[in-house]
Each structure stands twice: as structure tokens, then as C-alpha cells.
């Protein structure tokens, strides 16, 4: 039985790592503009499609296809912020949230148009064969290895960016206070754009990896992973980058283990049930800090 569990944990880790790529975008955007960017899951979807077109139709090598998807989605993310969120930045929070829902629906339905991605499921032809390695009775696939390595490299890169670069420092100050940042000479608009660009690029990478790991894509594929990733970000403590990764890994494990050992239909119910329980015990997520409101 041990091997079966270990295999499932590895599967869960693969899923969790992909959630982490999406969750980071949610958490970074929430950090700087306090907005639940509901369109983020759909940016992930666009990333999956662009990557798929890249390696299966335009003949790009796989890494180039991933980079192309990331580039396209950064531009998309920045554009979305410019058009749909920036005019509402200092309006009530709910207005931007509704706008985000609008963008989400727009991407889904626009993608469903026949001359865009089309409404149907597409089966993804992987650019390489899936190979299984057996090590001490544990099964690992080359796809899983690619996912792990890519995600770890990206996380390290993000950590460096946020804590070791000027733009990272700008992002951290904007997350605390827009006006104070502006007074200190930080270009708030640009910083927010960069945050959207990075978050969207991460989601795009997640999308392409998702497409080769679970080789079926369609215009509504972003909804559920998007919600789960967002849940993961909240679970870990929204706005906190390590929290997003931790939450994503937990979500991946919960989902995979419940599908494998309990019931695949109850999977979502259990994942969200755990979310509610965690929030009741720690209302700001696992790593979130509760700051009592000043009276």
C-alpha cells in the first residue's frame, strides 16, 4: 500500500505545483490592489491554448512555446488591468470584482467563438512521449519531473525578484500603501502593471504544464483550477507568497488523495470543506496574520 500512497502524493504534488503557479498570480495581485482577480483562471486557459498552438501547430520547441505563452499572457494581463481594473481602482472594491467577473466571462465566451479557440474540447498531442521511471517501486513520469523543475526554478526566480530587486521592493511597498509609495517616488501604475504581467506569465506557464499533464483543453478549463488556486491562496493567507505555495500544495494533496482513496466526486466538496474549516480556525489563512482593527 505504501507505494500507492507515495505515488498519489507525487501526483498530488504535481497538481499542487500547478495550482501554486496560478495561486501566486492571485496572491500577488491581491497584495498590490486588494482585488480577487477572477479572470486569472481564464488567463491560465489562454496560456494553455497559446502553448498548445505553439508546440503542436506552429512547430515551436516546447520551452519556446512555454515562453511564448508567458509573453502573450503578460500582455493580456496588463491589458486587462489597464482596461477593466484601473478605472475602478479607487471605486468600491466590489466594482472591480464585478469587472473581473466580466473579464472572466468575456475570455471564456470569446475563446469559445469558432474563429478563436472554438467551443469544443481539444485533445493535446504532447510534444514528447510520457515516460515512466520506477525508482524503488515509486513511479515518476518525465512530465512530473518537468513540472517540478520548472515550478521550482520559477519560484526561486520570483523569490529573487521580490526580495532582491528594485521592482520587487516597489511591489512590496505598493502592497502596503499606494499613496505612501507614490510619495516615496514609486511609480504605482507601473508596479501594478508589472505585478499583473508576472502573475499572468506564471499562470500561462501553469496552463501549458497543465495541458501536457492532463492533455485536454477547452475555453472553460480555467474556472475550476482558478477557483482551487484562489482557494489555495486564501488557505495559505492571501497576499503572502509562501502561503500561496503552501496552500496550493495542500489543495493538490487533498484533491488527489480524496479522489484516490475516497471518492472523486466528493473531491471538490472536501477541498472546499477544508477551506471553510481552516478559515473558521484561522480567519486569515494558515500563514496570515490577524491584525486587530484599530479602534
Amino acid at each position: 500500500m505504501d507505494h500507492l500512497i507515495v505515488d498519489q502524493i507525487i501526483n498530488g504534488l504535481q497538481l499542487g505545483f500547478m495550482y501554486a503557479l496560478i495561486a501566486l498570480g492571485y496572491t500577488m495581485v491581491y497584495g498590490v490592489v486588494k482585488l480577487i482577480n477572477f479572470a486569472h483562471g481564464d488567463v491560465f486557459m489562454v496560456g494553455a491554448f497559446v502553448g498548445y498552438f505553439g508546440f503542436s501547430q506552429w512547430g515551436l520547441p516546447f520551452p519556446v512555446a512555454v515562453l511564448t505563452a508567458m509573453a502573450v499572457c503578460s500582455i493580456l494581463g496588463v491589458t486587462i488591468e489597464r482596461i477593466a481594473y484601473r478605472p475602478l481602482r479607487y471605486a468600491p472594491k466590489i466594482a472591480a470584482l464585478i469587472s473581473a467577473l466580466g473579464v472572466s466571462l468575456f475570455l471564456e465566451y470569446f475563446g469559445s467563438l469558432k474563429f478563436v479557440f472554438g467551443p469544443n474540447y481539444r485533445v493535446v498531442q504532447r510534444p514528447f512521449e510520457e515516460v515512466q521511471y520506477h525508482l524503488a517501486g515509486i513511479t515518476v513520469t518525465n512530465i512530473q519531473i518537468i513540472v517540478f523543475i520548472t515550478v521550482l526554478i520559477m519560484l526561486a526566480g520570483l523569490q529573487f525578484l521580490i526580495y532582491r530587486t528594485k521592482i520587487g521592493m516597489a511591489m512590496r511597498t505598493v502592497a502596503v500603501d499606494h499613496n505612501a509609495s507614490r510619495l516615496m517616488g514609486v511609480n504605482v501604475d507601473n508596479t501594478i502593471s508589472v505585478t499583473f504581467a508576472i502573475g499572468s506569465a506564471f499562470a500561462a506557464a501553469g496552463g501549458v504544464l497543465y495541458a501536457i499533464a492532463y492533455p485536454q483543453i477547452h475555453p472553460f478549463m480555467g474556472i475550476m483550477p482558478g477557483l482551487k488556486a484562489f482557494t489555495a491562496a486564501v488557505l495559505g493567507g492571501i497576499g503572502i507568497i509562501p502561503g500561496a505555495v503552501l496552500g496550493a500544495i495542500i489543495m493538490g494533496q487533498v484533491e488527489t488523495l480524496t479522489s484516490a482513496f475516497l471518492s472523486s466526486q466528493a473531491r471538490d466538496a472536501i477541498a472546499f470543506g477544508i477551506l471553510i474549516l481552516v478559515l473558521l480556525i484561522r480567519p486569515t489563512g494558515i500563514l496570515g496574520r490577524t491584525e486587530p482593527e484599530k479602534v
Binding site: I36, I83, A84, P87, L88, A91, P92, K93, I94, A95, I98, S99, L101, G102, V103, S104, L105, F106, E108, Y109, F110, S112, L113, K114, L227, F230, T231, V234, I238, Q265, A266, D268, A269, F272, G273, L275, I276, L279, L280, P283, T284, E293, V295
Partner: protein, 339 residues
Amino acid sequence: MGKADSSKKTILLLAAAVIIYALIRTLEAAEFINPYWQRVIDQALITTMGALGLSIIYGFTGQFSLGHAAFFGLGAYASGVFDKTVGHGALPMFLLSLLIGAAVAGLMALIIGLPILRLRSDYLGIATLGFGIIVKVGMDNSSKFLPILGGATGMSGTPQVANFDWVFWFTLLVIVLVRNFVFSTYGRACTSVREDEIAADVMGINTTRIKVIAFVLGCALAGLAGGMYAHRYPFLHPSSFDFLKSFDFLLVVVLGGLGSMTGTVVTAIAWVFVLEGLRMVLGEAFIDFRGVIYALILIVAIILRPQGIFGGKELGFLVPKPMGSQAGGKGGVNAGTGA
């Protein structure tokens, strides 16, 4: 001031309702409104009832819910299955089943609301979203516990007794009752919680109790609307009650303007008609472009009017005189009740 004025407003409201009712009936008799449009009207009214529930919860009390459709669905299934198995469409049974729909949704709201209403803003939104998804999973698998519910294949067979008359007068009743609630110390306690929960607490308002009352009432209205839906549309399916439907309710309340019943009612009705209008204008292409245009309207509308169409104001006859104000909310953004 005084009772006379108050009943005058109510009479005005009733008179307006009678005129609208007579108009629709006449148009129907003149075959201006065919059964298809009749369904559209009924759909709009049912949405209004459910949206008014969310208006109490979010618009007036400020408790962010992304799971309203779950309560709508719980009401629809509870009411539908009762009438299908026990009531068989007899009039008292129909009314009883509506009550059951509201009660089941309200009870569930009480159970879930007591723990989760401690959460604030976005966290509450996510918890209710999660609850909605759990309910949807439950509906998809309901046939395992109760085969009659049909699980993911849906349930049909609820007696279709809710005609336009029922839907219309029930909607009016709901509007009047919600108005009465809002313009009482309950409603004012709700808006104080929305405006500043700590200050409300310090001013002697049991904020937990108020939040639970608002949540239970609002969800019970969703359940009532769901019960009506089950008796008007023969086929219940879990996907009609998923989180996209919750967003539908949310955008009606937000586009109408938070803290404005008028806004909720007008937007709930207008939104259904805008979509049907699009269907007429676009013809065949509609099927493809519906979602895209829906999304674009949504984005443009919220950017043009972030405070919603009515931005906290009410039309005069929804404000009962001795308790209301002449001024209304003129502050714009999140201006409040206008009371």
C-alpha cells in the same frame, strides 16, 4: 407624518402594481405577449425575489456572499420534491411547498451562517463560494441518497402550478415585506453593521444576531424564489444553481446599486430583458455571441457606474413616509439606504 401618509405610500405602490399587472394581462390577451415572453417575465420576477434576498445580505448588511444560488437551489429542490411526492400541485400544498423551500434554505443559512458570518469581506465571500460548490456537489450526487432527486441528470415532475399571477403577486409581496424590513430598526441596524461593525457593536447592536437575521432572511427569500422556480420550470438541474448563478444574483445587486431595493428590482428585470433583447437583435448569431456581449455589457456598465445604477437611492414609493427621508442618498459611492 403619521399613519395616513404611510398607508398612502403603500396604496400608491399597490396601485402601480395593479396597473402593471393589468397591462401585462391585457398584452397577453391581445397576444402581444406570447408564452415565450411570459416565461421571460416570470424568470425576471423570480430573479427579483432571489436578488432582493441578496440585497438584504450584501446591499444592506454588507455581508459578501458568493453562494446565493445554493440557497436558491436548495429551495427549488426542497419545494419541488415535496410537491412532487406529497402535494401533487394542490393549492394549499403548493403554498406549503413554497414555505418549505424558504424554510429549508433559511435553516441551512442558519447552520452555515452562525459559524461563517464571523469572517470578514473577501474571506466570507470565499467561504460562501465554497459552500455553494459543496451544495452543487451534493446535488450532483443527490440520487445516491434520494433517487427521486435525480442527481446529475436533474429532476423533473414538479407540478407546474406557478402561473404568472402567482409569480407576480408573490414578487410584490416580497418587495413590500423587504421594504418594511429595511425601514425598521432592523434595517437600520443592518446598515449600521454595513457601515461600521465595531461602532454598531459599541452602540448596543448585537451585530452577530443582526448578521445572522439578515443572512437567514435573505437566504429564505432565495429559497422562496427557488420554490417558485421549481413550480414554473419543469426541469431542475444542479448546473442551474452553480456559482455562475450566484454571480448572476450578485451582479444584479451590485449593478442596481448596493443598498437600493429599487436598483435591485429594476436591474433584475432589466437584465433578463436585455439578454432576451439581444437574442432578438442578434438572431442566429446570438447563441455564439451571447456570452461575449453579456460580458462586455457587464464591464462597461460597472466602469461607467461603479456605484450602481441607483447608487443607494430609492424611488419614492418604496420609501414609507414617516420613517423615510426626502433627501435620499446623494453621496454617490455606497451611499447607503437613502433612508
